[in-house]
């Protein structure tokens, strides 16, 4: 059993986004964080100080640990931002403004 089966989900057609250049599938309605989790990715940020990996922590937009760069815009909360077809999602290093 997986969550889609459990809830008898019939999602609309999957679409493609890229994560650090690699193509991954996303389902309509999923946030960037959900799409990354579904693809087995759990970290997408390097901290400003020690460069340590981070991903989802609070899952509801409070903690800001899941910041990510989407289509060149850094500091987007992956747990809130919906994934859109063709999104270029990139690991955010530091403040995200260096590259």
């Amino acid at each position: 059993m997986n969550p889609l089966e459990l809830t008898d989900a019939r999602p609309g057609p999957a679409f493609t986004v890229t994560f650090d250049g690699r193509e991954i599938d996303a389902l309509p309605g999923q946030t960037v964080a959900a799409a990354l989790w579904a693809a087995g990715v759990t970290s997408w940020r390097g901290t400003r100080g020690a460069g340590r990996p981070r991903g989802v922590f609070c899952g509801i937009g409070v903690c800001f640990d899941c910041l990510v760069t989407v289509n060149g815009r850094p500091n987007q909360r992956a747990c809130l931002v919906p994934a859109r077809p063709g999104d270029a999602i990139r690991t955010q290093d530091g403040t995200g403004h260096d590259d």
């Binding site: 459990l6 946030t31 899952g59 509801i60």
Partner: protein, 481 residues
């Protein structure tokens, strides 16, 4: 229509929905402002509509109550008595000599400022999870218990294959049950409290046999159907992994709340869902100048704060779950509607809700005293454990601020170490900094409830007006089924 009084309700969870429906039924126009794309809040968080879930109730409980709330909201939306502004992230509520202005950022990117004018406001801002630091808690794969549940309910995704659910509090049971039902192997449920201690509070708990049965039902499903081992009076002392969680170490606690030597054991897992209770969201109330009672908004019997025109309901006034939020929201909505229409509220019209509120507050006060973090949890926080996740401040810096630099309060620790100065503004590290420094916990005080683009601040007074009185652009929830 436009001469009706206008009420803004902030938050579309159980408290906000109950307040909205109660006030709208009394002839008040309500603008329900919420950050999510769909109503429900965290408790009734729905799978995104694009996922086409036909049985979302498989991940929920109290589904019948939700259906009733949803149907009521739909009726009021159709009748034009309620405007539901989804994806509106409120950053400030401002009070004028006459009326209230709600300032929000619209859309997922939160770039456009919008305002809603009203005659009064109900703050139903909910709560968020408290997580106390331990070595390894910043590793990817470590998530809050509520966060794991939110991602599951909303995105129908799981963080990994094998999870440990740990911490303390009544939320852990439904989280572990939900993860197990959705296909995660739950290697253990680690609860630091001793559920047997509930017996000491049997009177307060016996007042609500339904709630007790709910907890017992979860426990039975976990133990029997999903075969999840329950480790009571145990705690997670460390999370292991290089760039991702691969195991946790748990240990038994003695009667005084200290780790018992020789009881450590390692459990392999790729997910740790952890939480130590909940905290109320009080930013908006604090900015309005509402008096706080400890870390919650103080309210009277009508759910009024001490600031005229400002009501509060649900977790913002103290953690007590969805049923208490529904009762409080109902009372707040009735009271606000009466006062806005120049009537004296009649408490006899909410006798049932008041009775339920009293019983539930007693119930949760009893639960609170049992489900407290272990008394000596700070002893497990090593000096190099990060306390402030945003600013990467280790425990040794917080300790040094007190011992070597003489800091005597949380604010001075913040100024000396930057703990609490980052993106989350101390929401995550606040309780830990307070405990490590021996200071009483205080609510995070922030001028704005979320980051606001400079352009929006600069444009104050030139914002787009949404909602009442005229021609609301988002009158109907676009995600209605």
């Amino acid at each position: 229509m436009t001469d009706r009084p206008r009420l803004a309700v902030i938050g579309a969870g159980p408290a906000g929905l109950a307040a909205t429906l109660a006030a709208a039924a009394e002839g008040v126009r309500v603008t329900l402002v919420d950050s999510a794309p769909q109503a429900g809040g965290q408790f009734y968080r729905q799978p995104a509509s694009g996922l086409g879930a036909r049985r979302p109730q498989a991940l929920h409980h109290q589904w019948r109550t939700w259906r009733r709330l949803r149907a009521g909201l739909d009726r009021q939306l159709t009748a034009g008595h309620v405007t539901h502004l989804t994806d509106h992230h409120v950053w400030c509520v401002e009070r004028h000599p006459v009326g209230i202005t709600v300032h929000a950022l619209r859309g997922p990117l939160q770039e456009d400022g919008v305002t809603v004018d009203a005659d009064a406001v109900v703050l139903a801002t909910g709560g968020y999870e408290k997580v106390l630091p331990f070595p390894g808690w910043t590793l990817p794969g470590v998530v809050t218990a509520g966060g794991a549940q939110a991602m599951l309910k909303g995105g129908l995704v799981l963080p990994g294959r094998t999870a440990v659910v740990a911490g303390t509090g009544p939320l852990l049971l439904p989280v572990a049950t939900g993860l197990a039902a959705a296909g995660t192997r739950v290697a253990a449920l680690v609860e630091s409290a001793d559920p047997k201690a509930l017996v000491r509070h049997s009177r307060a708990l016996a007042a609500l046999p339904v709630k007790l049965a709910e907890g017992a039902g979860y426990a039975a499903r976990l133990l029997l159907r999903h075969r999840v081992p329950l480790l009571a009076r145990h705690t997670v002392v460390e999370a292991h992994g290089d760039d991702r969680l691969d195991a946790v170490t748990v240990a038994a606690l003695d009667a005084g709340g200290r780790v018992r030597p020789g009881t450590r054991r390692r459990i392999a897992c790729d997910t740790l869902a952890v939480g130590h209770g909940m905290l109320p969201h009080t930013d908006l109330a604090a900015t309005l100048g509402c008096r706080l009672d400890g870390v919650a908004v103080e309210v009277d019997d009508e759910q009024r704060t001490d600031v005229p025109g400002v009501w509060a309901a649900g977790e913002a006034t103290g953690i007590g779950g969805a049923d208490l939020a529904l009762a409080e929201g109902h009372i707040a909505g009735r009271s606000a509607a009466a006062r806005l229409t120049g009537r004296r509220p009649d408490a006899r019209t909410w006798t049932g809700a008041a009775r339920s509120r009293a019983a539930l507050r007693g119930f949760f006060a009893a639960l609170d005293s049992v489900y407290a973090p272990p008394a000596h949890w700070t002893e497990q926080v090593t000096d190099d454990t990060l306390v402030c996740r945003c600013e990467e401040v280790p425990a040794c810096a917080v300790r040094a601020a007190v011992r070597e630099l003489g800091a005597g309060d949380v604010r001075t620790v913040k100024l000396l170490t930057r703990a609490g100065m980052g993106w989350c503004q101390g929401r995550m590290c606040g309780p830990a900094v307070a405990a490590l420094t021996g200071c009483p916990p205080t609510p995070a005080r922030t001028p704005f409830a979320r980051p606001v683009p400079l352009g929006v601040l600069a444009g104050q007074g030139r914002d787009t007006q949404t909602g009442p009185p005229d021609n609301p652009p988002d009158g109907k929830d676009p995600h209605d089924d």
